[in-house]
Structure formats: C-alpha cells, structure tokens
C-alpha cells in the first residue's frame, strides 16, 4: 500500500518526445486512469512506473522510495497486460503461483494464496487448464489473479479489457472495480476507452501527444473540460464545438445571424453537450439542417449540419424529424462552454 509520485518525467526516443514533463501525485488506494488516444504516451508512462522503460529525465517515487534505478522486480508492482502475458507452457495454477515461486514464498502459503486469488476472480475450476484452452475473458481473469496473488504496492493495468468482446468488457470492468475496492491497492489503469475511465476512476488523467491535458474526477472532466481536446474526447457523443465569434455581445457563426452570449469579443469556439440542448419550435438560438437521426433506444440522437460543421442533440425516444428539415436548437445558457480558438483553452470558469 503506497502512494506514487511522478516528478517532471520526460521520455524521448531520439527526436520523438513520448512523454513531456509529466507531473502527478497519486495517493494511496486511489484508482487512477490514464486516458487518451493511441500514441499519447499513456502506456509509456505506465511502463516507466513498472520499470520496463527508463525515463529520460525526472524521478519516480513509490511510497517515498525513489525507484528510478530499481529493477521491475524490486519495485513491488504487479501488472496486467493487454495481451494477458500468460506463460503458455504452465497451467493456470502455475501461472498464478509463478510470482510466489520466484519470490520463494513458503510452499504451504503459496497454495493457500493461489486458491484465494483464484477464488476472487472465480476461476477455481480452471486451475489445471493451459492458457490456450481458455477464452479471452478467462485468460484475463487469470492475469488478474496472477497480479493480485502477490498483494503488491501498486497495480498497473495496461488496457486489460481491450481484447474482450463488448458484453464481457462490462462484467469484467465491474469485477476490476470491485477487486480494487476489496484489496484497497493503489491502481494505475491505462485505457483509450472513455467509458472505462468514467466508470472506474477516482481520478482521470487525460493525455494527448505526451502531455497531460487535464486531471480531475470523472465528473469534473465531463462537466468542465479544460480545453477543446478534452471536450472533444470525453462524452458519447463528444461535446459539440461550433466555431464562431462574439461580436457586440452576440455569438455569430455560419448559417446563423447570432444570439446574445456573454464572453470576450472575438473568435471563439462554443461548446455544449448533446443532452444540454433541445430542439424547439420557438425560441431556439441555433439553426441547422437535419443530417442524421439515430435511435438509441432510450433516446434519439439528431445530428444537424450547421455550415461546415455538425452538432448533436439528444431528444426523447419518440422524437422524429425529416432529413434535411431545418430545426432550431435551444441551449441552456448555463451549459455553454467557451474556448479560445487559437490555444483551445477554456474561457469561462463557470
């Protein structure tokens, strides 16, 4: 059980900078998710914590102990890999037991701990199978059991669910959340799936091109994205971003004459979420042409073309519209997010 600190971590290969000045403190028992598109440096960051990569500069502390020069085995972390990383020549029991054997835990204790770990992920009846005889979900649970059997200081999980099918992903996700609650171990979890990040995390770190974009609770990230990247990455559908400008207290964009909006004069990106807008017959601020209508079951998603861009509006499930029809959208003023066009940073702090 330990907290984790990364101080000014840089990682580069030649000219390519994979991680840029990464600075973060992770407190004990926290579930932290590193979220970002592929190639954003999240996996590299995790591998540096594990000791599988050396940072180009910066310091890593696990439980107040500087671990930069320690071998992976001496850092007391355990890791779940995307492709499971199970030993194909060993059966499930020996796979789970391997970390204990290498660390020369007493024989009697080994057996008891393996069975306990296997019980926690419900694979007790698979112990004498080989990994090749298991399904993807079962393999991932074996990998989880192998990670928890040692009771390490820190869990590292590298996209553990990305090889599973959609249904299994949801149940395994719940299992991971529950395991972390039961074991109370600091966890760092890497994913590119924002739903996983939202559901699992105590705190989310959104990364892009090697840099931290925003750190915060899932709700903060969702409700108050700090820049255009986070706004466009989080949420399903992501936040609508409409390029325009504020002139004389009016927001003007393509196809629209303008409506009153408080904010600094000049070019601006207006952001709002699909569920914070509504299609109305009167009193709407923005107009657009129906581009697509998608039935989600519990709601209907209407996509409108507005000049060169698109915007999504979530409507009740029985709402219907004709393709190409012109519709007006009402925005709740409190739910509007303003971003600078050039830097992409958030403008209003409300």
């Amino acid at each position: 059980m330990a907290d984790l600190e990364l101080r000014n971590i840089w990682k580069s290969w030649g000219d390519f900078v994979a991680v840029r000045d990464f600075q973060l403190e992770i407190s004990d028992k926290e579930f932290l998710v590193l979220l970002g598109p592929s190639g954003c440096g999240k996996t590299t960051t995790m591998r540096m914590i594990a000791g599988l990569e050396d940072p180009t500069s910066g310091e890593i502390f696990i439980g107040n102990r500087k671990v930069n020069d320690l071998e992976p085995k001496d850092r007391d972390v355990s890791m779940v890999f995307q492709n499971y990383g199970l030993y194909p020549n060993l059966n499930v029991y020996d796979n789970i037991c391997f970390p204990l054997k290498v660390r020369k835990v007493l024989k009697a204790e080994q057996d008891q701990r393996v069975r306990k770990a296997a019980g926690m992920v419900e694979i007790n009846d698979l112990l004498d199978r080989r990994p090749a005889e298991l399904s993807g979900g079962q393999r991932q649970r074996v990998a989880l059991a192998r990670a928890i059997v040692r009771e390490p200081n820190v869990f590292l999980m590298d996209e553990p669910l990305s090889n599973l099918d959609a249904k299994l992903r949801i149940s395994t996700r719940a299992q991971i959340k529950n395991l972390q609650y039961e074991l109370k171990v600091t966890t760092v979890y890497v994913t590119h799936d924002q739903t996983e990040a939202m559901t699992l995390a105590d705190r989310v770190v959104v990364m892009n091109q090697g840099e931290i974009q925003q750190v915060g609770s899932p709700l903060e990230i969702y409700d108050r994205p700090q820049n255009v990247f986070v706004a466009g990455f989080i949420g399903s559908p992501p936040m609508n971003l409409i390029e325009g400008s504020i002139q004389d207290g009016q927001f003007v964009c393509e196809m629209n004459k303008g409506f009153p909006l408080s904010g600094p004069e000049g070019p601006i990106a207006l952001g709002f979420r699909a569920e914070d807008a509504e299609i109305v017959s009167e009193g709407g601020q923005l107009k657009g042409l129906v581009y697509a209508m998608e039935l989600l079951g519990d709601a209907t998603l209407i996509t409108l073309r507005i000049g060169g861009g698109l915007m999504c509006v979530k409507m009740p499930k029985d709402f219907r519209a004709k393709m190409g029809q012109e519709l007006a959208v009402f925005l709740k003023p409190a739910a509007c997010h303003l971003f600078k066009t050039d830097s992409g940073l958030r403008l209003n702090q409300s």
Binding site: G51, K73, M79, Q82, N83, G85, Y87, F98, R139
Partner: protein, 382 residues
C-alpha cells in the same frame, strides 16, 4: 488422420482424383524409401544373394538360406510384435499430457524393452529346439544373417567410430545450442542496428563453402601445441586429428544457421512474456531461463536436431581433419567401401551404412511431437 473428415467441401477431392493422388503418393513413398530398404535387405544376406541381379533373390535370399542362416515364421512374428509394441509405447508417451516425473518411468520401460529383445531371441532359439525343425512355425522362411553386423561392430570395432561420432555430435549440438539460444534471444530482442549487421555477417559465413573454413583453421590446428602451451602447459595436444578440432569447425559452420533459426523462434514469443516475468520477480537472466526457454523448447529441439544432423552426417570436415583412430562413422564407411578386397567386405560396408541410420530413426521417433510443433507452429501464443 481424423482431420480429413472435417475438410470443408471446397477442399474435398473427387473419388478419381483421390485415387490418383493416393496412387502417386504410394509410388513416391516407395521410391523414397527404396534405397534404405534395399541396403537393409542386402546387409542381411550373404554376398552371393546380396549382389544377385535378380531382385527376388535379394529379397528371399535362397543362397543364405541354404547356407543355414535363416529366420522362421515364429522369429518374424516376434520381430513384428516387438516393433509394434515399441511403436505403440512411443505413441502413448507422446500423447501423455503432463509428463513431469513420468519421463523416468518411460525411460525405464524403453531400456527394459531393449533387454526384452535379447530375451525374445533366446525364447525363439529354445522354441526351435523344443519343437524341432519340422514344426510349421519353425520352418526356415527367409535367408537372413546378422553375421555382417557382428563382424562390423564387434570384430572391426565400429563402436569406436560410434563413440567418436557421439562425442563430436554432443560437442557440436551443445555449443550450437548454447551460443544459438543466447545470440538468437539477444538479436531478437535488440533494437540496435548492429543486430542487423551481425545477422548479415552470419548469413555470409553460412554461404561460404565448408572447405574454406577448414583451410582457414588448418594451420592453427597443426600448430596448436605451440600457441596453447601457455594455457594448458606441457601436456598440450596437437588439435589436428583430434575430435575437438572438428567440433570447433562444425560448430562454426552450423552457428549462423542456428542463430537465424532460433532468432525467428524468439521473435514469435511476445515481449509481454519477458516483461510479465520481470514484473513477477525475475531478473533479466531468470526471465530468460525460467520463462522464455521453456516456451521455446520445441524450437530449441528443432535447432538441436538440425545441428545434430549436420555433425552426424558430415563427411568433408571429418575426412580432412581426423586421424584414422578418431574417425567418425560417415568417413569410416567410405573407408570400408574403398577397402574392396572381398565381396564380404562390401556387404559389411553396407551393414555399417545401415547401422548409422538407426540412431536417426530413434531420434526422430522420440522427439517427433516436439519437432513437428517446432517446425510448423513457430509462433507460441499465450
């Protein structure tokens, strides 16, 4: 094989095509196995039969039969029984899932089975005495004699060449595999540009004619007593003529190939395995020994078999570098043929040739499963 019944319709052959292909296959098999079959038959006959122009004479050996050397129906039955049981035993061993300690049991059983062969010969002899030559089971059936084998192995001490071969192959296989696994692993995991150039250099060395390497080493072997004296003292041997010398040459001929082969096996093992092992508590070396090599085992065995074959079948290097008393089996056989004094010598040479194929059979039978998985799958997925 049972898979054939699950073939998709698109791959199933029509009756006539099936007949044609099976017919072709059987003819091809016969042609392929013919030389081996023929020398086996020849080695069991007296020269009169062995060199007969009539193939039927070679097969049934009337001359040998009339000379009094024969096997009867009962002997034939025993031989077939012995072979079938041995074959089934190997099958059983291959099918075993969790071998572990059972390997020793199987080793014990196979040694026991070799002794059983001796016991069976005794049994056959006693039976012949008991039943008399007139009983149908003991009527002489085929002309057959093991005289030439006895002469080669016992009188002419062919076992010395066998031990020389054993020594050379053991040396070559252990050096090739030790260097090959380490280098293959290193080259597979290294991202350095040097790795590429090392592999290219290895390829060039592989392409060199073997005699080039031999002539390169020759002066050093001849003068070895001088330059090795500071290390080993006055008792230093001249390497020229010693099995050590050809171990060095054969290992260097073989090394590029083993490195390339093992490297491609290692490349198929996901890096995640190394990483998982290192996080689970292994150092770099332990991860290699405890995780990667066991997963690689079929590949190591396959590379080992190829090294073995190269060393075992080598003629050129052994003929150029070895003294007569250190000769390995293959060049020794050519010696037998060249002697050419009597036709009996010729059949003895054939018997010696048959003898050296037997270890290959045993080897391939024993490691069949691992070799097949090593040759076909290549990829070891988790």
């Amino acid at each position: 094989m049972s898979e054939s019944s699950f073939l998709p319709k698109s791959l199933q052959l029509s009756k006539s095509l099936k007949l044609l292909s099976n017919g072709f296959l059987s003819i091809w098999c016969l042609i392929a196995v013919f030389p081996l079959l023929w020398i086996t038959l020849m080695s069991l006959k007296y020269p009169l039969d062995a060199f007969s122009a009539n193939p039927l004479v070679v097969i049934f050996g009337p001359g040998t039969l009339s000379a009094g050397a024969s096997i009867n129906f009962f002997d034939l039955l025993l031989v077939i029984l012995w072979v079938v049981v041995a074959f089934l035993g190997i099958k059983r061993w291959q099918a075993e899932k969790n071998l572990g300690s059972k390997n020793w049991l199987y080793l014990g059983i196979s040694i026991g089975w070799l002794f059983a062969a001796v016991a069976l010969t005794e049994l056959s002899a006693t039976l012949r005495e008991q039943l008399g030559a007139d009983f149908f089971l003991s009527t002489p059936l085929l002309g057959m004699t093991t005289e030439h084998f006895q002469s080669v192995w016992i009188e002419q001490e062919f076992y010395q060449q066998f031990f020389n071969s054993l020594f050379v192959t053991t040396g070559v296989v252990s050096i090739s595999l030790t260097v090959g696994t380490l280098a293959g692993y290193g080259l597979a995991r290294s991202g350095s540009n040097w790795a590429f150039w090392i592999l290219m250099t290895a390829l060039v060395f592989r392409a060199l004619p073997h005699s080039v390497l031999v002539s390169g080493y020759l002066p050093w072997f001849i003068n070895s007593a001088e330059w090795l004296r500071p290390i080993f003292g006055e008792a230093t041997l001249t390497l020229y003529g010693q099995p050590w010398a050809i171990i060095v040459v054969l290992a260097s001929i073989n090394q590029p190939f083993t490195i390339w082969m093992l490297r491609s096996f290692f490349q198929n093992i996901p890096r995640e395995l190394d990483e998982a092992a290192r996080i689970d508590g292994c150092s770099h070396g332990e991860a290699f020994v405890r995780v990667i090599v066991p997963v690689m085992w079929p590949g190591v065995l396959t590379a080992g078999l190829f090294s073995f074959l190269l060393a075992y079948n080598d003629y050129l290097v052994a003929a150029l570098l070895l003294d007569a008393q250190n000769q390995t089996m293959v060049p020794a056989i050519s010696g037998y043929f060249n002697r050419e004094t009597t036709s009996t010598d010729q059949v003895e040479a054939v018997a010696a040739a048959v003898s050296i194929t037997a270890p290959l059979f045993v080897l391939v039978m024993v490691f069949q499963k691992q070799l097949v998985s090593g040759l076909t799958q290549g990829a070891v997925k988790g």
